[in-house]
Symmetry: C2
């Protein structure tokens, strides 16, 4: 009977990859970064791969690019996250507030105990 029908959602797909999440984290930390900047922060991943992941993120609307001369600066976009948050809030009804509180507390803990989404070095 009723089929559920999927939702091929770009945001979830975009968040499903370690590299892409790392890119988002880096953009969050540094505000704007060029492709080479980003690529140089990964060891096992080349510029082409980063560029392709940026394409995925771009298509999903999660990053925006600003061209300046021969450089292209990438930065975060917030809107697509609504899709994710909306899904989560629909799962748990109106309890997202408390979840958010817990999440923020937990992210503070992470900061104290060790990086979880990486970075650095």
């Amino acid at each position: 009977m009723g089929q559920i029908s999927g939702s091929s959602s770009g945001a979830f797909d975009a968040l499903a990859d370690d590299t892409r999440r790392a890119v988002l984290s880096l953009l969050s930390e540094h505000g704007e970064l060029t492709v080479s900047d980003l690529a140089s922060r990964f060891d096992h991943i080349g510029r082409t791969a980063v560029s392709m992941q940026l394409k995925v993120l771009r298509d999903a609307g999660m990053v925006q690019e600003r061209r300046a001369g021969k450089y292209r600066y990438y930065s975060l976009r917030v809107e697509p996250m609504n899709e994710v948050l909306s899904f989560l809030s629909s799962l748990y009804g109106t309890s997202l507030d408390s979840l958010a509180a817990v999440a923020e507390q937990r992210s503070a803990d992470d900061n104290a105990e060790g990086p979880r989404w990486g970075t650095s070095s």
Copy 2:
């Protein structure tokens, strides 16, 4: 060393699949469902596939099972969502509150106007 490396992120992986999100939605709607119950709600997907997806969700801690006789009832678990929310809040600093507000509003709109995470081009 300079590696970014990710956080094994079971939750993100779990959310990356249409079928799994649909399962989560169904569990959210109905509270508890058996595997057969779930499988019967999909057209193009068999019981085995649903069972496998449940294994993924189980391993990610996003669902819990309650055994009653020969049935196994599955229901949602909230904790793993912290990983997702924590990531999002780390991306946007402390602005998750406002995002949550927007998301809830938007989910209300969705209920009235129609689904929004169906399309992606």
